[in-house]
Symmetry: C2
């Protein structure tokens, strides 16, 4: 089956959880987003971040620094358990909205080397899509063939799947109106950037940092998406914390946040 019409939607950890407080889900937001996702007319893959679930545990046990101490083994397991708990709440919300969502564990299907996905067995995922199921992946603690263990970000999963499946459109929901020229919380002159391409991205000196994010924040997010844009898939970073924006993006509306495009576009 061809997945070029499928849509990958990332739900950022700062949207679905309160990053300031460990293990706190934004229940009403997740339930609203589930309803917005249910308006999709095309096959969906959902990927979500770790927010106040995965990040604090992964950070405590230094999972992303690689395997050094035996104590990290239980930390690896607890990071995954935290993500599974967050995931199960999202799955339940999607079910309530009528969507046949199914968890899909990244640490069971991606081969990762030095923090980068090297390969994946995607037959089960493709078959789920063919059936009409909605796989829901997430940032996860994963075994790393080089450094033992690491954190695989939801953003890298999004970019990898879009490339491998030939998906042409990716929507990333965050809790602000896109990528800003500088940190909007400290600089009142900060403005959202409507379109980022490899050329103008080099000129942006100081984008906002993520709060409590072990996977690199906004810069690594944009870098993943720029590499993806070069492969012909367009991404848009939108404000999923504002009701209705995700629904409009799913319906095909563009220019709602920051579009990430290749230089050729």
């Amino acid at each position: 089956m061809n997945y070029s019409n499928a849509l990958i939607v990332k739900l950022g950890g700062s949207v679905i959880t309160d990053k300031r407080k460990k293990f706190s889900i934004r229940r009403r937001t997740v339930e609203r987003l589930a309803k917005e996702l249910a308006t999709s007319k095309v096959p969906l893959i959902v990927v979500h971040g770790g927010g106040s679930f995965g990040h604090p545990v992964a950070s405590e046990y230094e999972i992303n620094k690689g395997y050094k101490r035996k104590r990290q083994l239980i930390g690896f397991s607890l990071t995954h358990r935290a993500m599974e708990k967050l995931n199960s709440f999202i799955i339940d919300s999607l079910h309530k909205a009528g969507l046949p969502a199914i968890a899909f564990q990244p640490s069971a299907c991606f081969t990762v080397v030095n923090g980068r996905i090297k390969s994946a067995m995607l037959e089960p995922l493709r078959k789920m899509l063919d059936l009409g199921l909605i796989p829901v992946l997430y940032g996860d603690a994963v075994p790393d063939l080089a450094k033992g263990m690491c954190i695989l970000s939801g953003d890298q999963i999004v970019a990898f799947l879009a490339r491998e499946l030939g998906v042409k459109r990716v929507i990333l929901g965050v809790d602000i109106n896109g990528v800003y020229t500088s940190d909007p919380t400290s600089n009142k002159n900060a403005r959202p950037i409507p379109v980022i391409s490899p050329k103008n991205w080099r000129g942006v000196s100081c984008p906002q940092r993520g709060v409590m994010d072990v996977t690199g924040g906004i810069r690594s997010k944009v870098d993943e998406l720029l590499a993806l844009a070069e492969h012909g898939a367009e991404a848009e970073i939108i404000n999923a914390s504002r009701p209705g924006i995700l629904k409009r993006a799913i319906a095909g509306e563009k220019g709602l946040g920051t579009r990430i495009v290749g230089d050729s576009l």
Copy 2:
């Protein structure tokens, strides 16, 4: 790494749950088994059955008959959710016993055709074992490349992993003293069979049936293990409901239940 010294332990659904009552875990039994597993001196892989979690949901939606109706999609997802809930309780119990256990989702890593595993990406699992983690798999609703969907039994996973990893010893915990000559609940002359080989198994006409088991009960379990024995791995079916038996089997004691061996042994 060589896994010939590793041990695969299957915890039967009838041991860890009460099969007569939907979604009922035998908490104290699971906690005891976790402590018994913690006595292992060799790398462990744990696989568990569905019991009163997976089976009733899978049966209601006829997952094992293949994909026929759209309604089965939510059933597929609910079957997996039920198994994930059971799995998370087992993981938490293993953590309490000090073991770095980690869930491993079968529907994300096995390619299945007509109910049989065709291939798997085992790099993540191997790397987890190398680190010292204890992967915990389970019977699961899985996409099937031929019939759309099916149930992959924990028993088939056990046999597949033992073969692929070169594991030489497999322990299957059930809630009776092994495989009986006939149904011990209805025939008081029924006796446990100490050793089953391909030759004497053909003579057993009427083994007991499993209660609420969508994966074929004891006959398919023995068939999986006999095929495995031909590959050089010995299995023993023991009574894990009786305290201490699993611990003794893990320590290397044989003859505690029914051994499944190849004809050459």
